[in-house]
C-alpha cells in the first residue's frame, strides 16, 4: 500500500533521515518511538503535507511526489483532534464530503450513519469546544472516515481518552476497518494498543527506523538496547561473553554470570535484556538447572500493580521482577533475601558492536 | 532660558506667515525678553480662535479688514467687554493668476491670453473656498470684474460658473453684478478645483493637479511661483477703483445658522491687525504691532504691498 524509499525531511534541527518502510495493504501498522522522534512528521509526509528533500513515497505503487494532499485519498487524524472549532459536529463530519461532489442527500446519509455509529447523534449540533476529549476524538475519527479514504493515518488517536471509552473506540475502529478493508497507520505510545491491534510495528528514534516487526519481536526481542529501554524491558545489562558453546553462552555482568541461548564467541561485549515477568522466585532448596541462571538479592522495594507485584532487588546486579499476585506474602517482604531463577531462553542477547535488525 | 521669555502669541492669516518669519527673528533680536509665536490659519479661523475657542492671543492679523468689525465687535462670552474695539489697516495685496512652468500652456499664457488659456477644456483652475477664505470670494470678484472690464460676456461662465453643479449664474442689478453661491459649491467637471485655503491650493498647483490658481501676489512671490499680474481695475489692489470693485458682489450660500455676513462686496484688499482686549501682554503686543507695521511699510519678498493711500 505504502512504500517509503529513503525518505529524508528537514525541519529545523530535527527531521526524518533516510527512512525506508513498506506497509502492506489492509494492515494496521504502528509507528512507535519516543517523543520528538519524528512520528507525526512521517504521517504528515505520507499525507503530502511536507515536501521531502530526498527519497520518495509510493502509494498503491505510484509515486505521489507531485500529488497535493487533497488528491491522495488519505485521511489524517491528529492527536489533538484538530476539529474545526467554528463548525458543529455534523458540519465537521460533512466537511470532507462538501469538498467532493456528493449530493446533499448522500452527504446527509453518510453523516447520519457515522453519527450513529460513533454514538454522536445527540452532539450533532454542538460545537467541538463544548465536548469532552473522548467525544471530540470520536468526531475526529468520524470526520476522517466520512471521505472514505483507503488509508487512514492516526496520530495517537486514543491517548487522551479514559480507558473505558478507549476500549469502545478501539473495537469500533477494528470493526470499521474490517468492513472497509482499510489500511491504517497509527502512531502510538501504548504497548497495550500495539498488542491488541498491530499487524506490524516500526520503531522510530531520532528520525531513523531502528526496528520493524511484530509486537512480540519488538517488545520481547528488541534489536537494540534503545529499543529495549523503550519497550520497558525491566532488566538491561551490559556484559561480556565469558564462555560459549553448544548454542549457549555465559555472560558476565558485574561478576554475575547469566546464561543465554546464542552463538557468540567469548570476549565479545553484549547487552542482555530480561523481562521482569520472566524472573521467578526459587523455592527454598531448589537447585538451578543448566539452562537457568540463579541470582540472589535483597528485596529493596515492592510496588503493587494491577496484574502483579513489582519487586526490586538490590545487589551487585540489581534486578526488577514482576511477580504474580499469588506469590505467598511472607516471602515477599522488603529486606528479605530471595533467590531468582531465569531461564536461558528468556534472556535476549544483543551484540554490542553490530546492531542487528530482526 | 525659554521660560523667562515672555511669549507673544500672534494669530495671523496664512498669507502673512512668510514675512512674519523675518519679523519674528528681528523683533526677538531687538527685544531679547520676547518669544514670538506665530500661528497661521485662514483669516476667519484666526478670529474664531479668539471668539469661539477663547484662545489667548496678543496680536491678530487678518487679510480682510471687514472681518474684524464683523466678528470681533461683540461682547465677550461671560464678560462685558468687546473682543476688540478697533483695528489698524496696514497693507494691501493684489489678486494674480499663479502658475508653474509645468502648467499647461505655461509658455502661451500672457497678460493678454490668460482668459483664453484658462478657458481651454484641458486647463484646470483652482481657487479657495469663498465660504472660508477671503481669497476665495475675491477670486470670484476678479472673474466678475474681468467680464465687464474686457467686455467679454460669458467669461465668468466659461472660467467658473458653468463648471459647478448647480451652475453659478451672474445677476445684474442696476450696475452691480452678483453671484449667489449655493450652500454646497460642488464642481461638476474637472475644470475647476476648490480647496480650503491657499496651503492646499498651492500644493495642488505644485503637484501639478491644477494648472492655474487665483492667489495673492505676495503668496505667489513668496513661494517663487510664476504669475500673471492683472489690471488694477480688476485685481482689487487699488483704492482708486473702490467704486468699480463695489460693482462685484458675492452672496455666500450659508445655512440659516451661520453667524457671518452673507454678502461680500468688492473692495480693495486691506490687511488689518488688532490687539484683542483679552491679550495677556498688551504692552508687548503693541510694541510688536508697531514693529510689524514698520516692517510692512518697508515691504520685501512675501510682504503684501504697503497701503498706498491714507
Amino acid at each position: 500500500m505504502i512504500t517509503i524509499e529513503h525518505l529524508s525531511l528537514d525541519v529545523g534541527p530535527a527531521g526524518i533521515r533516510d527512512l525506508s518502510l513498506v506497509i502492506k495493504p489492509k494492515t494496521w501498522a504502528f509507528i512507535i518511538g519516543p517523543s520528538g522522534a519524528g512520528k507525526t512528521l512521517i504521517l504528515e509526509a505520507i499525507a503530502g503535507l511536507h515536501t521531502p528533500e530526498k527519497g520518495r513515497i509510493l502509494i498503491r505503487n505510484t509515486d505521489v511526489s507531485g500529488l497535493s494532499p487533497e488528491k491522495r485519498g488519505i485521511a489524517l487524524v491528529y492527536q489533538d483532534y484538530s476539529l474545526f472549532p467554528h463548525m458543529t459536529v455534523a458540519e465537521n463530519i460533512a466537511f470532507g464530503l462538501k469538498q467532493g461532489n456528493k449530493s446533499s442527500e448522500e452527504r446527509e446519509e453518510i453523516v447520519s450513519d457515522l453519527l450513529n455509529r460513533f454514538r454522536l447523534l445527540r452532539f450533532r449540533d454542538r460545537y467541538p469546544g463544548t465536548l469532552s476529549g473522548g467525544e471530540q476524538q470520536r468526531v475526529a475519527l468520524a470526520r476522517a472516515l466520512a471521505v472514505q479514504p483507503e488509508l487512514l493515518l492516526l496520530d495517537e488517536p486514543f491517548a487522551a481518552l479514559d480507558p473505558q471509552i478507549r476500549e469502545e473506540h478501539i473495537l469500533l475502529m477494528q470493526q470499521i476497518r474490517r468492513e472497509r478493508g482499510l489500511t491504517i497507520v497509527q502512531v502510538s505510545h501504548s504497548r497495550e494498543e500495539a498488542f491488541a491491534l498491530a499487524d506490524q510495528v516500526a520503531v522510530i528514534m531520532e528520525g531513523r527506523l531502528v526496528q520493524a516487526g511484530t509486537c512480540e519481536e519488538i517488545f520481547f526481542q528488541p534489536a537494540t538496547p534503545e529499543v529495549a529501554r523503550f519497550a520497558r524491558i525491566e532488566n538491561i545489562f551490559s556484559g561480556t561473553v565469558s564462555w560459549s558453546g553448544d548454542g549457549m553462552i555465559a555472560v558476565d555482568v558485574n561478576g554475575t554470570s547469566f546464561r543465554a541461548l546464542a552463538e557468540i564467541p567469548a570476549g565479545r561485549p553484549v547487552t542482555l535484556c530480561i523481562r521482569g515477568r520472566d524472573l521467578q522466585i526459587a523455592r527454598d532448596g531448589v537447585t538451578p538447572g543448566p539452562y537457568q541462571t540463579c541470582v540472589t538479592g535483597l528485596i529493596s522495594e515492592l510496588t503493587p500493580m494491577e496484574f502483579g507485584i513489582r519487586a526490586e532487588m538490590s545487589g551487585p546486579c540489581p534486578l526488577v521482577a514482576i511477580l504474580p499476585r499469588e506469590v505467598p506474602a511472607q516471602s515477599l517482604q522488603r529486606g528479605r533475601m530471595v533467590t531468582i531463577l531465569i531461564d536461558a531462553a528468556a534472556v535476549r542477547v544483543i551484540p554490542s558492536d553490530l546492531k542487528e535488525t530482526v | 532660558e525659554n521660560k523667562e521669555k515672555t511669549p507673544i502669541r500672534v494669530l495671523a492669516a496664512g498669507s502673512l506667515l512668510l514675512p512674519l518669519g523675518g519679523v519674528e527673528t528681528r523683533f526677538e533680536a531687538a527685544k531679547p525678553g520676547a518669544d514670538v509665536q506665530v500661528e497661521g490659519h485662514g483669516s476667519i479661523q484666526v478670529i474664531r480662535q479668539v471668539t469661539d475657542l477663547h484662545s489667548t492671543a496678543d496680536v491678530v492679523l487678518v487679510a480682510d479688514e471687514s472681518l474684524i468689525p464683523d466678528m470681533m465687535y461683540r461682547t465677550m462670552e461671560g464678560g462685558r467687554q468687546n473682543y476688540t474695539d478697533g483695528y489698524i489697516p496696514f497693507a494691501t495685496n493684489a489678486m494674480v493668476i499663479a502658475y508653474t512652468n509645468q502648467s499647461r500652456y505655461a509658455d502661451e499664457i500672457t497678460n493678454d491670453t490668460w482668459r483664453e488659456v484658462l478657458a481651454r477644456p484641458d486647463v484646470r483652475t483652482g481657487f479657495s473656498n469663498p465660504m472660508l477664505d477671503a481669497a476665495g470670494y475675491r477670486a470670484l470678484m476678479v472673474a466678475i470684474l474681468a467680464e465687464s472690464y474686457y467686455h467679454d460676456t460669458g467669461l465668468f461662465d466659461r472660467l467658473i460658473g458653468s463648471h459647478f453643479d448647480p451652475p453659478l449664474v451672474l445677476e445684474n442689478d442696476n450696475g452691480t453684478t452678483a453671484v449667489t453661491l449655493p450652500s454646497v459649491l460642488r464642481p461638476s467637471d474637472k475644470k475647476v478645483a476648490v480647496r480650503d485655503g491657499s496651503i492646499y491650493l498651492m500644493s495642488l498647483l505644485s503637484a501639478g493637479g491644477i494648472d492655474y490658481a487665483f492667489e495673492y501676489r505676495s503668496v505667489a512671490e513668496g513661494q517663487n511661483l510664476l504669475y500673471i499680474p492683472l489690471p488694477a481695475e480688476i485685481d482689487l489692489s487699488s483704492p482708486a477703483f473702490r467704486k468699480e470693485y463695489a460693482r462685484a458682489r458675492v452672496v455666500l450660500g450659508f445655512e440659516r445658522f451661520s453667524s457671518l455676513g452673507r454678502v461680500r462686496t468688492g473692495s480693495p484688499i486691506v490687511y488689518a491687525g488688532t490687539i484683542p482686549n483679552t491679550a495677556p501682554h498688551p504692552e508687548l503686543a503693541k510694541e510688536f504691532m508697531n514693529f510689524t507695521l514698520a516692517e510692512a511699510e518697508k515691504g520685501g519678498n512675501g510682504w503684501p504691498a504697503p497701503l498706498g493711500g491714507p
Binding site: F84, G96 | I44, Y200
Partner: protein, 269 residues
C-alpha cells in the same frame, strides 16, 4: 475562556489606574454633550439638516467602501504575510506601516500625487474614465491609504494564530488551498477581521487632512464640520460633532457587543 470567580483586589487597583483614561474619555464626551443637550431644538434642527445627513451618509459609505476594499485585498495580503517567512516580509511590513506615523497632510499629499488625474496611477485610470479628484473614489482611496496598516496588522496577527494542523487536516479531507483558506483560516480569523475592520473604519471615518487634499467634494463629515466652524462658530460645529459622536458610540457599542460572542468557539486554550 471563563475566568476566576475569585475576588481580586489588584483588579480594583488596575481600574483605579486605568480609570483615568476612561474618565478623560467620559469627561470629553460630557463637555460636548452637556451644552448640546441643553439646546435640544437646535440640536434637532442640525440633526435633521439635509446636508448633515448627506455628509454623514457619504462619510460612512466611503468608510465602508474603504473597509470593503481592505476586506477584499487586505485579507489576502495579511494571509500571505502570515504564511511567508522570507525576509522580504519585513520590507513589505515596514512599507505597509508607513501611513501609520505619517502626518496626515503628507499622507494626503502622497495620495494626491498618485491618484490625481495626472498622477502616476490616476493618469492611466483617467484615460479609462475613472477619476479620483473631487470624487467619491478619491475619498475612498485616501481612507484606504491611512487605514490599511490598522487592518492588515490586526488580521495578520489573527491568521498567525490559526493552528496549522487545522489547515493540514482540511487538505487531507479534500480541500484545495483555497478551500482551506476559505472554510478554515478565514472563519477562524473572523474575530480579528471584525476588530481590524472596526479600527480601520474608525480611522477612515475620522480622517480630514488626507481626504480633503484629493477630494474637497463631496464633503466628508470632518470637512463639513470644519466649514461650519468657520462660518457658524463653535455652536454649529459642536452639534455636528455631537451627532457624529452619538452615531459612532452606537456603532461601536453594537459592533462590540456583536463581536463579543463571535469567535468564542475558535480558541484552543
Amino acid at each position: 475562556m471563563i475566568r476566576s470567580c475569585l475576588p481580586n483586589p489588584f483588579i480594583f487597583v488596575s481600574w483605579l489606574l486605568g480609570g483615568v483614561i476612561v474618565l478623560v474619555s467620559g469627561l470629553a464626551l460630557m463637555v460636548i454633550a452637556v451644552p448640546e443637550l441643553a439646546d435640544l431644538p437646535h440640536l434637532t434642527a442640525i440633526a435633521l439638516d439635509g446636508r448633515v445627513i448627506e455628509s454623514l451618509s457619504l462619510t460612512f459609505a466611503a468608510g465602508c467602501s474603504a473597509v470593503l476594499f481592505l476586506l477584499l485585498c487586505g485579507t489576502p495580503l495579511a494571509y500571505a504575510l502570515s504564511r511567508t517567512t522570507s525576509r522580504w516580509r519585513s520590507v513589505a511590513e515596514s512599507l505597509l506601516d508607513l501611513p501609520l506615523a505619517l502626518p496626515h497632510t503628507v499622507a494626503g499629499l502622497m495620495v494626491y500625487l498618485l491618484f490625481m488625474s495626472r498622477g502616476l496611477i490616476g493618469g492611466p485610470l483617467a484615460q479609462a474614465g475613472i477619476f479620483f479628484e473631487d470624487a467619491f473614489l478619491g475619498i475612498v482611496m485616501a481612507m484606504i491609504f491611512v487605514s490599511s496598516p490598522y487592518y492588515v496588522n490586526t488580521v495578520r496577527e489573527g491568521f498567525e494564530r490559526v493552528p496549522v494542523h487545522l489547515e493540514y487536516v482540511a487538505r487531507t479531507l479534500g480541500a484545495t488551498e483555497f478551500a482551506a483558506f476559505r472554510f478554515i483560516a478565514l472563519p477562524l480569523c473572523s474575530r480579528h477581521i471584525w476588530s481590524g475592520a472596526l479600527l480601520a473604519w474608525g480611522r477612515a471615518v475620522g480622517e480630514f487632512a488626507a481626504v480633503i487634499m484629493i477630494a474637497y467634494f463631496p464633503e466628508v463629515i470632518s470637512a463639513l464640520m470644519y466649514q461650519r466652524f468657520s462660518t457658524g462658530g463653535i455652536a454649529e460645529s459642536r452639534s455636528i460633532a455631537f451627532i457624529m459622536i452619538v452615531v459612532c458610540l452606537v456603532v461601536f457599542f453594537t459592533l462590540r457587543t456583536m463581536t463579543r460572542t463571535r469567535g468564542e468557539n475558535d480558541d484552543h486554550h
